[in-house]
Symmetry: C2
Subunit: 191 residues, 2 copies
C-alpha cells in the first residue's frame, strides 16, 4: 500500500483544503494540490489517495478505527452509551487544536459542493456502521448497536461543527463532551 510518509499525506490534505476553499473544488487539479503541498508530484498524490475527492475523506477510516478500538477496550461493565462515550472521547482527543482552521475550511467546502455532500453522507453512514459493528462485537443487540453508534456519530459531527464554526477556544474533546451530555438529556425526554 502507501509508502510511509505521514508528512506528505498531511501536507496534501492541507493543500487540497486550502485550494478548494480558495478556488473551488471543481477548478482545482491534482497537480496543483501536489505543487502546493511543497512541490510534490502527482505520483506522490496517488500513493496516498485514489482521487481528488478522497483526499477529503481518507481520514475517516482512521477515525472509524479509533472509535472501534476504544469500544473494544471499554471496561467489561460498560453500557452501550458508555462505550460510545469512550469512543467519542478517543476520537475527539485525536484532533489537535491547530487542525481547527483546516477543519473549518473543509466543512465549508463540503457544505457548498453537492458531490462532496453526497460523499460525506455516505462516509458518515459507513462510519456509523463500523461503530455499530464494534458494539455488536461487545454483545450489544443489532438495533441497540445501530442507535448507540448513530448517537456517537451525531455527537461527533455536531461537536465538529461547533468546534469549527463557533468562536472561543474550546477543544473538540470539550465540545464532544458537552454535546454528549445534551444528547443524553434529549434522549431522556423522547418518550
Amino acid at each position: 500500500m502507501a509508502r510511509w510518509d505521514p508528512n506528505a499525506r498531511e501536507r496534501l490534505i492541507r493543500a487540497a483544503v486550502e485550494l478548494f476553499a480558495e478556488q473551488g473544488y471543481e477548478a482545482t487539479t491534482i497537480n496543483e494540490i501536489a505543487q502546493r503541498a511543497g512541490g510534490l508530484t502527482k505520483t506522490t498524490f496517488f500513493r496516498h489517495f485514489s482521487d481528488k475527492r478522497e483526499v477529503l475523506f481518507a481520514g475517516q477510516e482512521i477515525h472509524s478505527r479509533i472509535m472501534s478500538e476504544a469500544i473494544a477496550e471499554a471496561p467489561e461493565s460498560a453500557t452501550p452509551l458508555e462505550m460510545v462515550k469512550s469512543a467519542l472521547d478517543a476520537l475527539a482527543s485525536s484532533f489537535p487544536q491547530e487542525r481547527r482552521e483546516v477543519g473549518r475550511k473543509l466543512r465549508t467546502v463540503v457544505v457548498n459542493t453537492p458531490e462532496l455532500r453526497e460523499r460525506s453522507a455516505s462516509k458518515r453512514a459507513a462510519h456509523t456502521a463500523a461503530t455499530a459493528e464494534a458494539l455488536r462485537s461487545r454483545g450489544v443487540s443489532q438495533l441497540g448497536a445501530e442507535i448507540a453508534a448513530e448517537l456517537g456519530t451525531r455527537a461527533f459531527y455536531t461537536a465538529f461543527e461547533r468546534w469549527t464554526t463557533s468562536p472561543g477556544t474550546k477543544t473538540l474533546a470539550e465540545h464532544a463532551h458537552e454535546v454528549f451530555l445534551e444528547l443524553k438529556a434529549a434522549l431522556a425526554v423522547l418518550e
Copy 2:
C-alpha cells in the same frame, strides 16, 4: 412542473426497477425505460424525473411529506417518539402490499450499485433532516428532534428491509410497528 400523470410515473418507476434488476443499472438507457413503461417517450420520462438515477429516489420527497404532515397533525400532548410513531405508521401504510416485489428489486439494485448506494445514503439523510424539521416545528429541541427523526428513519428502513427480504405476508405497516417496539426496547437498555 410535471404534468399530472400518475400512471405514467408509476409505470416508469416499475419499468426502471425491472430493467435495472434484469440487465444492470449502467447498461439501461432512459429510452429503454420509457419503452418498457408501455411505449412512453424520453420526453415523458424527463417530465417526471431529472435523470436515470432519480427515478429510484423521486418517491422519497413524497415520503418526507407524509411523515412531516403526520407530525404536524399529531395530538398536542404527543411526545417526540409518539409523533415519530404517527409519522412512521402513516408512511408505512402508504405502501400497498403489491408494491413489495418492486421494493425487493429496488433494494437489490441499490445495494449492488455503489453510485446508487451513495445517493441512497444522501437521500436518507435529507429525509431524516425533513422529519427533524417537522419535529422542531412542534417545539422539540434540536438534538431531540434529530435523534427522534433518526429513530423514525431507521425504523422505516429496517422495516422496509424486512418487508422486502423476509418470507411471510406481513404488511410494511406491521413490520414498522414491530421494529418500532424493538427500537424502544433497545433505547431502554442503552444507558
